[in-house]
């Protein structure tokens, strides 16, 4: 009887209650907020819900005795645990390319093909990445860390995970969470900047309907696009190769079943596992640090810079364009990627100025160009800092 009561007391030591700290509870609370935002606000729910639940999973307090090394071997950082095995795809960087395969297999690049000049907006918005890089160096981060933080400004979750897993794995949790948070917050962040930087008259600019795009062009696009970008930035190959490969599967017309699976079950499986494990990797002791706060601040800065340069670059282009070819600067924000939320912001803000002026389809061009642009930027950072 004595043994039993004592054993129960001992069992208590193993429970989450006994090992719980305020940090655990804080992280669980953040996880709950993520889930709530995903469900109630419907902000990027395919990502916020798995990441939020993953945060809870990763912050269940586990017993660990540093003296004896005794403890349950189930944490995400313990070799051979289930979470650790599922986390391989994040740490070794092969989940993000598979997600890019699926994104390629779902994305329609027609908008970009029919209005190639809008591609450049997608280049300008990548300045957010390098602005954040410079700021991060100022704040004392090492160059590899600064590069990984900068990529938050790419507004592209898989790219952020891919690059940070290569450059600064220890910051990956904070970077991924920051990237997804701001992607979810795109409408909140971008709208005021867009209104601030544009005049009423600019917001009313009507863009011409672009030409049609033939199927042949759509097929040639991913092949040519891949060869060009990969020759220029070979280190972007894993992301760019998969993105364009997926798009070729979609557009070829003869491999539809492969595209359907890549953009269906395959991307679903990887999205579920990447979200869960990235969330679980944010264990309180790694995540709740002053540096995470800095990373969130830099992430916000990078989104602001990216949006500013995107909108500003359109205004700059307009200086050289004839009246009828002018571009509505409200599609400038879409250059950051965050497909398709940023393009929807363009449409919404545009509608407020003129309820019959649809900008969505135009905004999709810089939007998908931004995906290519940030994959290129990630490639460059990798070749410099990897």
């Amino acid at each position: 009887m004595d043994t039993i009561i004592d054993s129960l007391q001992q069992f208590w030591q193993y429970t989450g209650f006994a090992n719980c700290t305020w940090q655990h509870l804080a992280m669980i609370a953040i996880g709950l907020i993520f889930i709530t935002l995903g469900i109630v606000k419907k902000w990027e729910p395919l990502l916020l819900v798995p990441i939020g639940f993953g945060m809870i999973v990763g912050n269940i307090p586990l017993f660990f005795d540093p003296a004896t090394g005794a403890g349950l071997k189930i944490g995400i950082y313990e070799d051979g645990s289930v979470l650790n095995i599922l986390y391989h795809g994040v740490r070794n960087g092969w989940y993000p390319p598979l997600i890019f395969l699926g994104i390629g297999a779902m994305t329609d690049f027609s908008a970009l093909i029919s209005q190639p000049r809008l591609i450049l907006i997608g280049a300008a918005a990548q300045l957010g990445i390098f602005g954040a890089y410079l700021l991060a160096l100022l704040l004392g981060f090492a160059p590899n860390e600064a590069g990984a933080i900068g990529i938050i400004g790419g507004a592209d979750g898989p790219t952020a995970i891919f690059l940070s897993s290569k450059l600064a794995p220890e910051l990956m949790g904070a970077i991924a969470v920051s990237a997804y948070s701001y992607m979810a917050l795109v409408p909140v962040i971008q709208k005021p900047i867009m209104l601030l930087l544009t005049t009423k008259k600019e917001r009313l600019i009507r863009m011409r309907k672009p030409r049609e795009v033939s199927q042949r062009e759509k097929i040639v696009f991913p092949i040519l696009g891949f060869i060009c970008t990969a020759f220029i930035v070979p280190s972007g190959l894993p992301l760019l190769g998969m993105l364009f490969f997926g798009n070729l599967l979609k557009e070829s017309g003869v491999t539809k079943r492969l595209a359907a699976t890549a953009g269906g079950p395959l991307i679903d499986i990887v999205t579920t596992l990447i979200g869960l494990t990235v969330g679980a990797s944010t264990q309180a002791d790694v995540f709740l640090t002053g540096r995470s706060v800095l990373i969130f601040g830099l992430g916000l800065a990078s989104f602001v810079i990216a949006t500013t340069f995107g909108v500003g670059f359109v205004k700059f282009m307009n200086l050289f364009l004839s009246e009828e070819k002018k571009i509505n600067p409200l599609i400038g924000n879409a250059g950051v990627s965050a497909v398709p939320d940023a393009a929807r912001v363009s449409e919404t803000v545009g509608l407020e100025a003129d309820p019959s002026n649809h900008l969505l389809m135009h905004a999709m061009a810089p939007n998908v160009a931004g995906v290519i642009g940030s994959a290129v930027a990630a490639g460059i950072l990798l070749s410099f800092l990897g």
Binding site: I119, L120, L134, E212, S214, I232, G264, H358, I372, L385
Partner: protein
Amino acid sequence: MTTYLFSILTAGSDRMAQTDPHGWTLTIISVTVVFLALIVLYFLYNLSGKIFTGAFKRKSSTKKNAQVPDAEVAAAIALALDMEEDGDTYAAIAAAIHLYLATGVHDTEPGIVTITRKDSSPWSSKALTFRKLPR
């Protein structure tokens, strides 16, 4: 000289910290290359556009390009804006783009653009139909 440069590029973080502590070199090169890469794409698609448009202009001139069924496009856009749930947005936007670019031209494709909304199955099998009524 070459060795110095080489060190920059094969370098990981440590060497960059030495040779480019404020990050301006990396920034300027990177921005240049990003623009370069996308400008190349711009020229490429501009060119391909010029090649392909010839064929298309002829085609579309034979049809009345005037009757733009804005209502359909607007409906597709409305759907795309509304559909935050469950990622159907990709399909909705693709439909909007398709309708928008193709308006007034009966293309060779089926002429029915399909998106789904309520169905819980993956996007690929979803089916909310925007019918192009025979005109």
